[in-house]
Amino acid sequence: MTASGLTAGALAATAGQLALVVGGAPLLVGLMRQVRARLEGRAGAGVGQPWRDLRKLLGKEAIRPDGSSWVFTMAPLLLLASTLVITAVAPFLSTVSPVEGVADLFAVVSLLMLGTVALALAGLDTGTAFGGMGASRAVTVAALAEPTILLAVFALSARVGSSNLADIVESTLTTPAQVLSPASLLAAVAFAVVIIAEAGRLPVDNPATHLELTMIHEAMVLEYAGRDLAMIELASAMRLTVLLGLGANLFMPWGIATTVAPLPLLGAAVVFAVKLGVLGAGLAVFEVFVAKWRLFRVPELLAGSFLFGLLAVSASFFLA
């Protein structure tokens, strides 16, 4: 294959995963709600419901609270933009990427934090008590989750000698036994807790709550309406998808294409969708069995996962 063909193929892979994540993220959320509904004995609104919600929100009026500034209107853009950038650089379909070396795992984690910060600032900018409350809680949880996620990254990249996502994935592909190493398993546990905390799932945050005093994510977006809200909802769904996708491909990358030929890419897309579906359904099932924790017990959970991360790193040092 020629160099230009390679670039074109890699571009196609990136565009493909962008389309897959943007289009599939609401479906994933719909699937999770549907699984939950079925386990609760309900019929459920169907997998496509989040898309119907988004379509409706786009047609509605947008509202800005009195006294807010440009930060309030820019925050959804920044949130969605940062999520899109992560989607573009993460190896979801192929390890060959036209944007290789642009952002490594550290940068991806920091971009996730950037989205959290944008939303927290918007929450503060509304000037309501609930907005401030949600912002305060969200950044506290994020601040405590960040060390864990960075330690998990450290444990993963230490054995490979690189924090570039594609390198980590390729290394796991070549030596599958690595996945079962203590470092990798401990890192997986730490990463799972972080996914739950960052995506605002139970038991850290209840995405279906109506009670403002228990909210984290919802409290920050209480003032958004119409297309702004649609952007935030889409970005939240995408963040969940991206986190699950990273978890899937860092710890079990099988099925990902190592070339940019059309057939492996198509296969990788199918495998990726299946992996995410299974992970999402699993997360939804898990959520049926737990209740939301008190806010001040969440740090205990995160401290526990921090310990797992630290153990993972130490394991990667001593058992290297």
């Binding site: 642009v102 940068a107 503060l124």
Partner: protein, 709 residues
Amino acid sequence: MSLIGAGLGVIAWGAIAGVTLGALAPSRARALVAGVLTSVVGAGGVLAGLAALGGQGWSLTVTDLLPLGAMTLAVDALSGAFLLLVGAVAVAVGVYSVGYTGPGGRHGAEPDATSGDTTALAGPSSEPGAAGHAEGAASRTAQSALPLFVAAMLLVPAAASVSTLLVLWELMALTSLVLVLAEHRLRASVRDAGLWYAGMTHAGLVAIMLGLVVFAAGAGGESFTALRAGSGDLSPGTRSLVFVLIFIGFGSKAGMVPLHVWLPRAHSEAPSHVSALMSAAMVSLGLYGLIRVGFDLLGGGPHWWGLLVLTVGGLSALYGVLQASVAVDLKRLLAYSTTENVGLMLIGVGAAGMFAADGNRILAGVLMAAAVLHAVNHAAFKTLLFLGAGSVLRATGLRDLDLLGGLARRMPVTTALFAVGALGAAALPPGNGFVSEWVLLQGLIHSVTATGSPSVVAALSIPLAVGVVALTAGLGMVTFVKAFGVGFLARPRSTVAAAASESPLTMRAGMFLAAAACAGLALAPATAGAPLTRLLRVLPSVRDGAPLADSGIALRLAGIAGSMSPLLIALGLLVAGASVAALARRVAQGRPRRVAQAWGSGGARLDPRMEYTATSFAEPLTRVFDDVLRPEHDIDVTPYVESRYLIESVRFRQRVPDRLEARLYPPLLAAATRWGQWSRRLANGSVHRYLAYGFVGLLSVLIVVGISG
């Protein structure tokens, strides 16, 4: 004449002109003269620094200038980096100070503790800033000390002998003390801050002096060349003694834990442009001293030196960021954030020392480069943040975040520029702080593969260091979300904040310069590759490294696999944001956003008093880190006179004291006081006793001479 010589000439003549003109100029022109000359002195530093980083070398010896010997100056790439850093800070600060020390504004007055709606501050006729101004930062003393302070800071990295370094170091300390005390007549708290600063900085000087004197005695010469040549002859014990002493001395200037106590006081009480100079520039000279003496003159040392620096750095980073994340005073918050960032730099230096001792020069080079790069980044964003805080202070007279807010609509330029600085300080992409933290983390994670089988100490300390850096990054994010979100967004929480207006043009220009530096460092850090390589060649133990390969837009680390492109990330964010915005615009079909009252659950109109404050924002963190911070609560319940069951008012106050200070310093101070009391007995005013002292003294000298002779 070389560029460096020209630059240093500009610095010297600028300082002399600054002192004379600052003292002579009429009060109306004083702000302009002092500001311009400070910028000129700074520009001299930038010129010399750029030339030195470009590969030029320069040295000068003037005999009989100083009382104890010759003045020796020499500039290499390491000096150049710090000349550039200090000079650039001074340029921005000089421009800014023209507006800041000019007439008008509410800064300088006693901050109003109760609330903004008292008339003392809002009164139109009194204008306390103007009255207090001639005595504060705009006074003759303060204005003429400003260029001198900058010149002293610029010459410190150029000093090339022990006596020159000590004299310049002391000059820097004294001029900065004068500037810290500038507003002592306006606020009583300034005097206390000045006392702490004077005490700490002189204790540090004593440590540096002892260390360098021991060093010079052992090496047989006081010029840096002699020290370099003689450092190998020192016994390991002496070398370690020298290192520990200078680490304490330079560390106290850098504000590392537990010697940081002067920082929150001096930084918050000094005029804001002076805070910027001290926090961004002077503090990094502590790092310079440590690198210069520890890695250049002593030429690196055993493993435990690095571990010591790493440990102290980790503690400083954590303690600083924890205090910053719960601080409510904006300038105090920034001061603690300085301790945090110095901690990160020390982590880099310490880890570099550890790997250099193991002989791993590539890794040591990357980590040292990370530390220096972080010093430069910190200088850029901290200058911007302190200047921003100064603008807020000037417009409102407030440093208390709990009373601020709503500035985004009233001071749009200041808000936008402060946001740039906060992004850098929060270490988020595409900010500049993120870049150097990324390099630091890269250096740390590659310690496994690069060292093969790491030692047990490294295997324990490096993961912990990564954990510390990560936790610091997380809490730093909270800190600056709070500083920006509570300080500038939402609706104003006091009447003075509601009456704020944008700063004068020169102040905005000064902040803009700093913001431009932040943006440049954030987007094109790879250009620092070649200068950093030259800088590392100065340090014998890490000499091999060429840490940042200069590969255009991407930041690639040489020797280890790691690459990231801040420019492309920023571009990606921009493109994604713009296309989403365009799509949203299409969807909106021209329907504007309706402005509605904030949703208050249908109740009465939301009051600014119902907004989240900085204290409430940090409350969850205060609870989580309860054991470390030990906040003090005060609850006053006032019942009605008629019945104690009916409550008239409840007052809740929370304070987070600096626990390290409260634990460590009172015993020390008490001991010093006791010692002082005791020694007072020696001098009781009796002439007979003084004559006896003189006689005994003379006699003992004669005896000593007699025995040794």
